[in-house]
């Protein structure tokens, strides 16, 4: 099975929040969505962007967990805390540089994106990338991601790709807004 990754092209986001609706539909998510979509500058324009777990290679959430409740799947997906181990300390929510883990006050448990592990372990795209109407969220092979990198890394001061990585190396790859700057027009 060819390795695929979640790839995010922020410029495409239309703010429909279908990714959040779909997140609740993954069998293992108990109808709670695990990611975010933000209005970037709501009084000015309609730009929006998703904030998804980037599934860090060396995840701060897992490192900060005193109970070792956050496991890393062999695919690289950083899983939601094991409910039997999570002590509800919320260290992970503070440690994550992107503010991803959410906290369920009633259950006293953290929960986060597990990249729809029941799907992605078999190479099936996660729900968010399956439904995303604007192709902001895509499920791509390494080769396709390399092409994207080639296409959008301008090799000058106007770089628009965040590849290889932002804060630390991540399994999810991101292209920041501005991808069209380097496009050669057809006519």
């Amino acid at each position: 099975m060819e390795k695929k990754r979640l790839y995010i092209e922020l410029e495409n986001c239309i703010g429909c929040r279908s990714c959040l609706a779909a997140c609740t539909q993954c069998g293992g998510h108990e109808q709670k969505n695990r990611n975010y979509v933000y209005d970037v500058n709501p009084l000015v324009n309609r730009q929006t962007m998703p904030l998804m777990c980037l599934h860090c290679v060396d995840p701060a959430c897992a490192r900060s967990c005193p109970a070792q409740a956050i496991q890393i799947h062999e695919t690289g997906a950083v899983l939601s805390a094991l409910t039997e181990k999570c002590i509800g300390c919320q260290n992970c929510t503070i440690a994550c540089p992107y503010g991803i883990p959410k906290f369920d006050e009633e259950e006293n448990l953290m929960y986060k994106c597990d990249l729809c592990i029941d799907r992605t372990k078999d190479g099936i795209p996660p729900m968010c990338a399956s439904v995303c109407p604007s192709n902001t969220l895509q499920w791509l092979t390494e080769e396709e991601i390399a092409e994207k990198q080639q296409m959008h890394d301008l090799g000058n001061d106007k770089w628009v790709t965040s590849m290889p990585y932002l804060e630390g190396e991540t399994n999810v790859k991101v292209n920041l807004p501005g991808i069209l700057q380097g496009t050669t027009k057809l006519f």
Partner: protein, 722 residues
């Protein structure tokens, strides 16, 4: 077929004890493919799984689509017929009691009979919608003409697609919403999108729209607001609401002046070029800019891009169509394709984004006041003869044409119409000038409403009949491409609810008209009769069998017989549907909106959708995720305008026009023109923006001008709703 670069072979996840039923969404004209997850122990729908192998949408869904399944077993479903004995409670949710189908049918038969014997056949009316299958739409037309024998039938497509229909009929002689399949969209070189908030209203088109730009193609968007699709446009033509025709004429003028007209195409395949050329001469960039408020450079740039593009698609939606010159706007923008010859070949053409699920099919088969199945005219004796034969009636018995949707409410107020059978629509929210509409509903002697949720319109009914959601019945729908697709049944009807076709058959039997209906025992029976009734009409569905639809991933009409694969691309032979085979380039004098701003009402009010809601919101306002995302209406105001009124973000204000008023929270955004305010129309009762909109109707399509009227804001002392 039509598997393009977005198509991926992906296995669906199959959870234990579940089956997947492939079908399409219940909402807009995109008709996204989806699989409904059905629990095999309870036989109930429990969720959704993407339908990756549907060629148009490849698994993609908007948030409405993802949560659509939550309608089926929703707590608000009406499970039994409801009767209200106290007519003084009309306009409220009070006073309904549960009843048996027997009692409900008896009462309807008695009251309808009384009204027709006292006031004539035409005292009854049918108001329907197009968020239902072709089979239901077809049968509703037959039920009105044969079951009730009334001339008064019309439908909510008058508030949706009728201007597109009128414009295409005039320009092409045929009304198929798109001249090409959606799998062409991303391969064109220029998209010219006018009056479509595509990202919110047809979100699953967006991956194709963005792909045009990724390939180096161009995106031009005409809209008074910088919508999410306009935000990324190469040129955003930020025009004043209601001035589209001037923009279309202005661009056409530049296309001709700068040598982009395709003379060979124009000479061989069109009429009307010379007079149109003369007329648009007045629309210089300066004049066009003065009328539309769009900068001269932007108009020139847009014309240059469209003119140069090897292939281009002109696309539009309600923004240009919901005007009292909606038909002219459609023909005006269509002129661009005809003059430059960018039509009648792959990757080039014209398309409208159909608003309702079956906005295309539902307008073709006889729900419109003057139409019969197969897009036949009720005023054409030959057409009447053909349909009468299928229906087994004497052509003499065929009722005459009725009036358009909004005009029906006026006739209710005049007591010409005294009874109403309403289905699949919620005009107490979606019609314009609601004070008149609601008064009309209230003045009825007897009203029946069929729905699966108790809508704002159902609040005016004497009898409510519980119908089923789309997932509890089967049939065909024609999507925005003109592709006939199949909706499949995933669950048995809950409670005592029934599909509308069954209700009509049973009601016809009660009314003594059973011999024309009793043979229709299944949706498939209706489908077979409907294919036959459309045969020979120009919207010919005869060859679109359910089998073929399944095998081919849908069938594009026209499809005349069993061997015909259908017609994905229209006009490839450059033959249009007017008798001489030519298209019509239309010379269209500009008219301003029916109501222009003045000192008393200085703002331009425009209305539209948000991504989280569908039409009147009767369905989507009940879905938790969608309600959480957009619980209340609001008014979008530019900060400069807000400063003039001294109002702030989140402050409550009074918005009013000559017709009505409502209170809204202010949403400040620079992404709208300073002279324009916007309110979404999905909300009921006192929150309906349609209390304020104007019922200025297009002379051809009878489409009301939802998109432009004059309004004023009043700051409230307290800043709170009174």
């Amino acid at each position: 077929m039509q598997r393009d670069k977005f198509f991926r072979e992906i296995e669906n996840v199959r959870h234990p004890n579940e089956t997947l039923v492939k079908t399409h969404c219940s909402y807009c004209g995109m008709q996204c493919g989806m699989n409904l997850r059905v629990d095999t122990s309870t036989n109930k729908i429990i969720g959704v799984e993407p339908r990756y192998d549907w060629p148009v949408t490849v698994g993609k869904m908007c948030p409405k689509g993802v949560t659509a399944y939550q309608q089926t077993n929703h707590d608000d479903r009406i499970l039994k017929p409801l009767i209200r004995d106290d007519a003084s409670l009309k306009g409220t949710q009070e006073g309904f009691r549960e009843a048996s189908w027997e009692e409900a049918y008896d009462l309807i038969a008695e009251k309808f009979g009384e009204l027709q014997s006292n006031y004539g056949k035409d005292s009854l009316s049918v108001f329907s919608g197009v968020s239902m299958t072709n089979e239901k739409c077809y049968l509703t037309g037959k039920f009105a003409r044969v079951g009730l024998g009334t001339r008064y039938i019309d439908y909510n497509g008058r508030f949706c697609m009728s201007s597109a229909a009128g414009g295409f009929l005039r320009s092409f002689g045929v009304d198929r919403g798109s001249t090409l399949p959606w799998t062409d969209v991303h391969e064109t070189d220029c998209l010219f999108i006018a009056g479509s908030n595509t990202a919110e209203c047809h979100p699953t088109s967006m991956f194709r729209v963005w792909a045009v730009q990724e390939r180096g193609g161009y995106l031009i968007v005409a809209d008074p607001r910088e919508t999410p699709v306009a935000r990324r446009a190469d040129v955003h033509l930020d025009l004043r609401p209601g001035t589209d025709l001037a923009l279309a004429n202005g661009i056409l003028h530049l296309l001709i002046k700068n040598g982009y007209a395709d003379e060979e195409f124009v000479n061989k395949h069109t009429n009307g070029f010379e007079e149109t050329k003369e007329l648009v001469k007045d629309f210089t960039p300066e004049t066009t800019s003065m009328i539309t408020g769009v900068a001269v450079e932007k108009i020139e740039r847009a014309a240059e891009i469209y003119g140069k593009a090897p292939n281009a698609i002109v696309m539009f939606a309600r923004g240009i169509e919901q005007q009292h010159k909606g038909v002219d706007n459609v023909s005006g923008y269509t002129n661009m394709a005809l003059v430059t010859g960018k039509i009648g070949r792959p990757k080039a053409g014209v398309a409208t984004f159909t608003g309702q699920g079956n906005g295309q099919g539902g307008r073709e088969h006889g729900q419109k006041s003057d139409l019969l199945p197969g897009y036949r005219k009720i005023t054409n004796p030959e057409h009447v003869k053909a349909v009468s034969k299928v229906w087994g009636i004497d052509p003499e018995e065929m009722p005459k044409p009725g009036v358009s949707a909004y005009e029906m409410f006026e006739l209710m107020n005049e007591k010409t119409i005294r009874g109403l059978y309403l289905l699949c629509s919620n005009p107490a929210v979606s019609a314009p000038n609601l004070n008149v509409v609601r008064k009309g509903l209230k003045s009825l002697d007897f009203m029946v409403c069929s729905d699966f949720f108790l809508s704002e319109s159902a609040e005016y009914a004497d009898v409510i009949l519980p119908s089923v959601t789309w997932s509890e019945d089967e049939g065909t729908v024609t999507n925005l491409e003109g592709r006939i697709i199949k909706i499949n049944k995933a669950q048995e009807p809950i409670g005592e609810s029934k599909p509308d076709w069954q209700i009509q058959v049973e009601l016809a039997e009660r009314l003594g008209r059973g011999k024309y209906f009793s043979h229709l025992k299944t949706a498939k029976d209706v489908a077979e009769e409907f294919r036959l009734a459309s045969k020979g009409g120009y919207a010919d569905y005869y060859g679109a069998t359910w089998d073929k639809i399944d095998k081919q991933d849908g069938v594009f009409w026209p499809c005349k017989d069993e061997d015909d694969k259908g017609t994905p691309h229209m006009f490839l032979d450059k033959k249009f549907y007017h008798p001489d085979g030519k298209a019509k380039i239309c010379a269209l004098p500009y008219r301003p909106p029916a109501e222009e701003p003045d000192e008393k009402y200085p703002l331009r009010l425009t209305t539209g959708r948000v991504v989280y809601h569908y039409l009147s919101g009767n369905q989507t306002r009940r879905i938790k995720f969608l309600k959480d995302m957009c619980p209340d209406p609001y008014v979008e105001v530019h900060p400069v305008t807000a400063a003039k009124y001294g109002i702030q973000h989140d402050e409550n204000i009074r918005l009013f026009t000559r017709r009505g008023k409502a209170y809204y929270k202010v949403k400040i955004t620079e992404a709208i023109r300073e002279d324009t305010v916007f309110v979404p129309y999905h909300f009921g009762h006192d929150e309906s923006i349609n209390l304020l909109t104007i019922a200025a109707l297009d002379p051809i399509s009878k489409m009301p001008e939802f998109k432009a009227c004059a309004a004023e804001i009043e700051k409230l002392d307290s800043g709170k709703v009174l």
